[in-house]
Each structure stands twice: as structure tokens, then as C-alpha cells.
Assembly symmetry: C2
Homo-oligomer: 345 residues x 2
């Protein structure tokens, strides 16, 4: 469902999915604590609003803890509604799956490891760009890796795209998250994995990002409309394509330093002129035009061991490197080359 104000149809939409007395859980980004959006959440009966602390990237331990609390308190629940940015989307998807799949969530980090459908889950993004509202994964940092639970059971049963909800996002955050969309489009459209489905969606998402960050001179409600569609189309484009160097390198930053995904991608992409010359030039133009600062020197003073950790995480993202550089990527992307790149960040 897409449209301004359609959040108000949430009560009607989830109503047929309520099972007896079992509550509906609203997992809401803690950014909205004490904000007026909370009064519009259709809480009924045993329903509960749980605030998600998304200061850091979602962790498997966080998924397991929230799921345990819900099981202890309610036994069974009717469903979970995630309201927030990409981290909240991913947490909601993961909790839905761990409600019905036994064991810790880290067991399912990978591809097609999830065995059973999760409970009914709804995604309502309040920040546009990650595409987490439509993706087949939920990225989690676990004890040994940062990797999503990629499965046919991972996508939401319902998404509600109401551009009004993104109107008051912090300016920097909005830019970083919007750039996540831009960057993954550049990565997928220039990559070696692609078909016309993903190409069509990727081109559209890129065009919408450009309208917002290149053509527009002032943020207005149309920007919210456009960027929400960009995020959706960008997420759809991932179905048959793959991201590339910026994602592979920024996963290392996130794993070691907890750098959030959007800003991490910006920090890395800013230095990738070798791989994506036109994209990086346009990115720099958008950064300047939108008066945004990209953090510099964030790896200064790290130890050799810490650089090694990041390099290991990054080199583990094989499909991303193959997509970006080709089948013989291992010859081209040496540890030394990656170390030099990380030192520039």
C-alpha cells in the first residue's frame, strides 16, 4: 500500500490477522518515543508497543532477547508491525522468523537456512533508502559475522508506504539513507549480475534519487514521495542483482566499529573513484549540493589486528566482489589493496 496518510489504515489492515486474544506487537524505532506518531498506533487488547533501540546496527543477540521477552510474556502473538528505519525493519523481520524457528538467530545467518514461515509481519518505513521494506534479508551482526537471514520467508507480508512518515527525518540521516539506495543502484547496474527486472527497477530508483538530490533545490513533500518510491524500487532491484565494493568494504567498518550502514556506505563510496568513476563524481556533487559532511579519517589509529578483522569481513562477501570485479576478483582485490583503501577512510 502506498499513499500519503495511508498509515491510518493500519488498524483495518491488521485486523483480519489478529488471532484470538494474541496481541499484535508494534516494534517502533526509539526515535518516535514521545512523538505524536505513537498516538496513531492502533493498540487494542493485549497489544504492546516495544521501542527498538537502533543506536547501533541490529544484533542477533538483540533479536533473541526481544523474542524471548515476547514469548515469556505472551506465549504466542498475532503478528509484529515494524515502524522505523532499516534497522527496525530488519529487527521486525528477524523477530517474526525467530518466533517460529527454534534456536538462536545466528543459526540462520546465511542463505535459505530458515525452515518455517515466521508470524505475520508488517513493515512501515519512516526513513527511505535502504529498501529493507521489500528485501529478502534482514542484516544482523552476530557473534562471528555480519550477515542477513536471506530466505523466502524473510519478506514482510504487508508493507505500508506512507511518505508523510518520512517528513521529519533528520537531514543528515535522510541523506545517508537515501545514498544507500543511490549507491546500491550504481553497484548493481554496473555489476555482472543483472537481468531486465533488476535493471528496470534499478534505473528507476536511480532516476528518482537524482530528482531528489540533484535536481531539487529544496526539500518538499514531493521529495518524500519520490525517495520512498526510490527506496522501494531499489529494494526490488536487488531481487536479481547484487551490490558491490562499497557494501563489501562498509560491512567491515560496521562489524568492527559499529558504523551504521548508510553513513558507512557514504564513507566508503566517497573513495571508490577507481571502481565507480561517474557514480563517485555525482555522489560528491550531491554531498556538496546538499551541504552534507562525510566523516573522514575514521580508521586513523586502528591496530594491524583491527585492519585485519575488517579485511577478513570484507573478503568474506564473495558474491559482492564477484559482482563488482568479475570471477577473478581474488587476483585483483589483495589484502594490501584493501588495507590501503581502509586506511584512506
Amino acid at each position: 500500500m502506498y499513499g500519503r496518510g495511508c498509515f491510518d489504515q493500519l488498524d483495518e489492515i491488521i485486523s483480519p490477522h489478529r488471532v484470538g486474544n494474541q496481541p499484535m506487537i508494534f516494534l517502533v524505532d526509539h526515535f518516535f518515543k514521545n512523538k505524536s506518531l505513537i498516538d496513531r498506533v492502533p493498540v487494542r487488547g493485549l497489544d504492546k508497543i516495544v521501542f527498538a533501540d537502533v543506536t547501533h546496527e541490529p544484533k542477533t543477540s538483540q533479536v533473541d532477547a526481544i523474542t524471548k521477552e515476547l514469548k515469556d510474556e505472551f506465549g504466542l502473538i498475532s503478528g509484529i508491525v515494524g515502524i522505523g528505519g532499516g534497522s527496525t525493519m530488519d529487527l521486525a523481520k528477524a523477530i517474526s522468523l525467530i518466533m517460529t524457528n527454534p534456536g538462536p538467530s545466528s543459526d540462520y545467518q546465511g542463505w535459505d537456512l530458515v525452515k518455517f514461515p515466521g508470524i505475520y509481519k508488517v513493515g512501515i518505513p519512516t526513513l527511505s533508502g535502504t529498501g529493507a521494506e521489500v528485501s529478502r534479508t534482514c542484516v544482523l551482526t552476530g557473534p562471528t559475522k555480519k550477515l542477513g537471514m536471506n530466505s523466502d520467508f524473510t519478506p514482510f507480508d504487508q508493507i505500508i508506504l506512507d511518505p508523510e512518515l518520512t517528513a521529519n527525518a533528520p537531514v543528515n540521516q535522510r541523506f545517508y539513507t537515501g545514498m544507500d539506495c543511490y549507491i546500491h543502484c550504481i553497484e548493481s547496474l554496473t555489476g555482472t549480475y543483472l537481468n531486465e527486472f533488476s535493471k528496470s527497477y534499478g534505473e528507476k530508483a536511480l532516476q528518482l534519487c537524482r530528482k531528489v538530490f540533484v535536481e531539487k533545490n529544496k526539500w518538499d513533500s514531493e521529495c518524500d514521495d519520490l525517495l520512498m518510491m526510490a527506496s522501494y524500487a531499489g529494494g526490488m532491484s536487488i531481487a536479481y542483482s547484487q551490490v558491490g565494493v562499497a557494501h563489501a568494504v562498509s560491512y567491515g567498518l560496521s562489524y568492527l566499529l559499529g558504523t551504521k550502514h548508510g553513513i558507512g556506505n557514504c564513507i566508503v563510496f566517497d573513495k571508490l573513484e577507481e571502481f565507480y568513476p561517474e557514480g563517485v563524481a555525482e555522489f560528491k556533487y550531491m554531498v556538496e549540493k546538499n551541504n552534507i559532511e562525510i566523516p573522514q579519517h575514521i580508521t586513523k589509529g586502528l591496530t594491524d589486528q583491527q585492519f585485519d578483522t575488517m579485511i577478513n569481513v570484507s573478503l568474506g562477501m564473495k558474491p559482492l566482489w564477484e559482482n563488482a570485479v568479475g570471477k577473478d576478483w581474488e587476483k585483483k582485490i589483495t589484502r594490501e589493496k584493501l588495507r590501503a583503501l581502509y586506511e584512506r577512510l
Copy 2:
């Protein structure tokens, strides 16, 4: 699912939806009788291939007859897989619904009249353009009207988009059906009902149509890829938009003369320079470039009563007229004006 050759995954896709001994029904466009595609249909157990006679536009009586035959022969069935053009898609959707909703299908021509979900249904288009593979309707000619069963239960549970299946479509047919997509994009993008969701999809579909019919000089496999995505995107764009004058007028032709939807839209759009000056100019260019003939004088010799019938059907399409001409459309679209337009066709 989208991809060259993905038709071969049909067996695997439908397998979890088989219920006990109940057969899967493959409703296949009669165009494929004795063609090699039939050997690739994964028939198992009691499964049956039913050829759909789509010489004329689908009728409610045809839906009721096929449904009755299936009920008489099998009682219950696991699901229905439609393989063909827009007519076959619409028949498959309608049969799925009438398997579980009592009474003749004409009872459900309208908006949100369907009460129960249909049986499991899969759409596999072999001709691109109508968007019937994703739409929320299935257009049927009934005893009193030509109107779809528009409902949340109407869309397919699964669609399989394999551009290889469209490779051998007859050239004229392919053009007319492709133009159905082009025309409904022009109608929706210039209309008064629209939001960014439908606009994004409509713009993309239009761009893909132009690549195929304006930019390309020869039909190749890329054209099949592009037009299949155009059809899908065009169908998605209808979610929050509406078609316009060409559809409203061509429904009258179909109702009276049985003119098929794609060619009917072309016959009408060819004369709509008053409403869509740029679109009609580009359409005429594509007709010429692709060496297609648009039938002329098809209403010659009709009686006053026959013209009145077409005018009545057309004026009944209120949302289409309102979208195209505005809320005061009834003042502008008089019976005389419509009569003059029908006489030019």
C-alpha cells in the same frame, strides 16, 4: 519470478501447493495446441491441460462452463495455472474465484463483490502488454456489461515471467498488445488520478515501450525482455491510477463487435489526437516504423441502435472518463460527440 528459462521451475514452484490427489489444472491458450511448450508443462497424477479458446474476449458464460466442467470431473482441484495472453490470464483468475464463490461469475462483475479467496492460481504470460499478469481485475463480457471482477482476491498468487515464452508471438498481435501497455500509460500519466507509485511504474513502462517500438530497429530477444517488464510495470502502475478515453471507447467496440482489447485500443487511440496529441503522434510513428496496419472503417454500416449500444457501454465507464476529462466530464462528453468519434473508427 522473472528470467529467461524460468518456466522450467514451474514444477518445483507449484509442488508445495498440491493438495492430496487434487489435480493442478493448466489452462493454456489454444495457440499452443501441438506446440512444443505443451511438452514442458509439468503434468502429474490427475493434472489436466485445458485449452482455452480465446478467439473472442473472455465471457462470463465461458468462465462458468469451464468451472462447472472442472467441478463435475474433479470436485476439488489444487490450483489453476494460466499460460497465455491477457485473455487466458483473465480466464484463469476468474475460474480460480468461481471455484470458491457461489453463483455465476456475472454476479461479481464490479468492485469488491468477490467474497472468498479463490483457489491457488499462477499466471504465466506468453504475450506482453496487457498487464493482466499483475492486475486486480479479470475483464469479462457478461450478459449486460463488459466489466472485470475487481477484488483483492483477483491477483495471482504467483507469476512467472519468462521472456523466452513471448519469442514466437505473431508480429501484429505483439504490437497490438504492446500498444495496450503504451496506451494505458499515456492515459494514466496524463490523467487526474495518480500518485508517485503509479507514476514511477507508468514512466518506466512507457520508457520500455519506447525502447522496443521507437528505438529498436529489429526485434530481438532483448525486446522480449523489455516488453515483458513494460507489461509488468504498466500493470503495477494501474494500482493507483486509471485508464482513459481509449479504453472507455474501445470497451464499446468489444461489447458490440467482439473486437479484442489490444487491437480495439489501437483502433480508437489512432483517432484521439484531441485528447492525447503527443501520445497519438508517437503512436502513429510507431505504427509506421513497425509496419503495422490499424484497421479502419470498422463501424461503417452499423445501425443507430448499434451506435447507441456502444455509446451506452462507453458512458458507463465513469471513472475512466473522470480520470481523462475531469469531474465535469458529462458536460464535455456528449452522446453526439461520442457518436461522431465512433463513426470515425
